[in-house]
């Protein structure tokens, strides 16, 4: 159970500025919820690292080796000489290798994305439905009233159209009820 102070902005720059102020105020790193990706987030909230490239890389490596092995091992298991070619022969097997490299790379990238983006969402988290339309929300997790007040002040000062407190479960439920 977590409480959030959510500030809704109508354009991304002020939301980003507000988020920067929240962070600077030592209220932790707020979450930005937006209808479009916001440019310059990393300058304000710090660099984000992603493991996706590793997934892609190792996926492709595994794909390459399993591709060649699939072709070579099955050819040896099922010995059918064709066309005067060797049983293990490179040009065609490299094509199989190539395709499987890409297939595994794609699948691994997706896995990496899902894992690193915490999808599919299993736990309830803060969600602001307006942010899917045209609002840029800054959600600050606040454990106590003091934090909440400070966050609210910062957000209002930054020019938020609306600031409200949300409880995660409640918020999620509300969203569900409203839409469902």
């Amino acid at each position: 159970m977590a409480n959030y102070i959510v500030g809704l902005f109508h354009e991304p720059d002020s939301a980003l500025a507000a988020a920067g102020k929240v962070k600077a105020a030592g209220l932790g790193t707020p979450e930005l919820l937006s209808p479009i990706p916001i440019e310059g987030v990393e300058e304000v909230l710090g660099k984000k690292k992603s493991a996706i490239k590793r997934f892609t890389f190792f996926g492709a490596i595994i794909g390459a080796s399993s591709g060649f092995l699939l072709a070579a091992v099955t050819a040896v298991l099922y010995l059918h000489p064709t066309g005067g070619r060797p049983i293990i022969t490179f040009p065609p097997f490299l094509i199989i290798t190539y395709e499987l490299t890409i297939l595994f790379g794609i699948v691994a990238t997706v896995l990496g994305f899902l894992i690193s983006a915490r999808l599919p969402a299993i736990r309830e988290r803060i969600y602001v439905p307006e942010s899917a339309v045209d609002k840029f929300a800054v959600a600050v997790a606040c454990d106590d009233g003091d934090h909440s007040r400070r966050a609210e002040t910062i957000l209002r000062d930054a020019g938020a159209d609306e600031v409200r407190a949300e409880e995660v479960q409640a918020a999620a439920q509300a969203a569900t009820e409203q839409s469902g």
Partner: protein, 254 residues
């Protein structure tokens, strides 16, 4: 033998072109074009031996004839100097067969006897082998063929009847080769004697234009025929290494 040695040995083995170190037999047919009269006896003999269906006039009109061995005819010159030559065309059982590599399910492959085999049960009917074959000797079952009763009683029980959607072609009468090998084994011989096995077309050829045998045996009739200076392969430039060797027609005036 440690794993590494086993691996390297296996590697060398499987990297050998054509895989086989040596064929058990290298069945070969020679066709003497100077003898061939184009009488088409081989065509009917093949049809009788291998249960090749009668496709009927409607299918022939669509160009779906089935003749594992067919006679091709080529005219040269114009009247009154027109000449006609015949050439029997059948599966060449190429050692470097283009049709074998293309089959996605390995329904056609090269066996230890040097035969290009077609596994009907495995065939899924992509027909790509027929495209890749430059000799156009693969025939496809465009439908289920039937024999008007009681013609089916004549079907050779040693040869299967192919269903629709399956590619088929000359087998060098593999059933006869099998029989000859079995007989040789029963007699305690290691190898089939030259002339002991003949495909139906060779057996019936009235002009004795066709000769069949094992070219690995230097004493066999085919080996001798292959050493004839007239020997050549059709479409040799395609590097198919075919097992059917033609002997040039003699043009005595040319």
């Amino acid at each position: 033998m440690n794993i590494f040695e086993r691996f390297t040995r296996g590697w060398q083995k499987y990297r050998r072109p054509g895989y086989y170190e040596k064929f058990d037999y290298a069945w070969t047919m020679t066709v003497d074009l100077d003898r061939c009269t184009g009488c088409e006896a081989c065509v009917t003999a093949c049809q009788a031996e291998n249960n090749i269906p009668i496709v009927g006039d409607k299918d022939i009109a669509k160009g779906r004839q089935m003749q594992w061995i067919r006679i091709e005819r080529y005219w040269q010159g114009e009247y009154p100097n027109a000449k006609l030559s015949f050439i029997p065309m059948l599966c060449q059982h190429c050692d470097a067969a283009p049709c074998e590599t293309v089959c996605p399910v390995s329904a056609t492959y090269h066996n230890q006897d040097g035969l290009n085999t077609q596994v009907y049960n495995r065939c899924i009917g992509t027909r790509s082998c027929a495209v890749y074959c430059p000799y156009e000797v693969r025939y496809f079952n465009y439908r289920d063929h039937h024999w008007d009763a009681p013609l089916e009683q004549q079907l050779n029980p040693d040869v299967t009847v192919r269903e629709k959607g399956v590619m088929e072609k000359c087998t060098f009468c593999i059933q006869r080769i099998r029989m000859a090998k079995d007989n040789a084994k029963d007699d305690g011989r290691r190898r089939v004697r030259d002339g002991e096995v003949q495909p139906a077309c060779v057996q019936t050829c009235p002009a004795e234009a066709l000769v069949f045998g094992d070219r690995q045996d230097p004493q066999s009739k085919v080996s001798k025929k292959m050493n004839d200076p007239r020997a050549y392969r059709v479409l040799d430039e395609l590097n198919t290494h075919s097992s059917v060797v033609y002997l040039k027609k003699v043009d005595a005036d040319g």
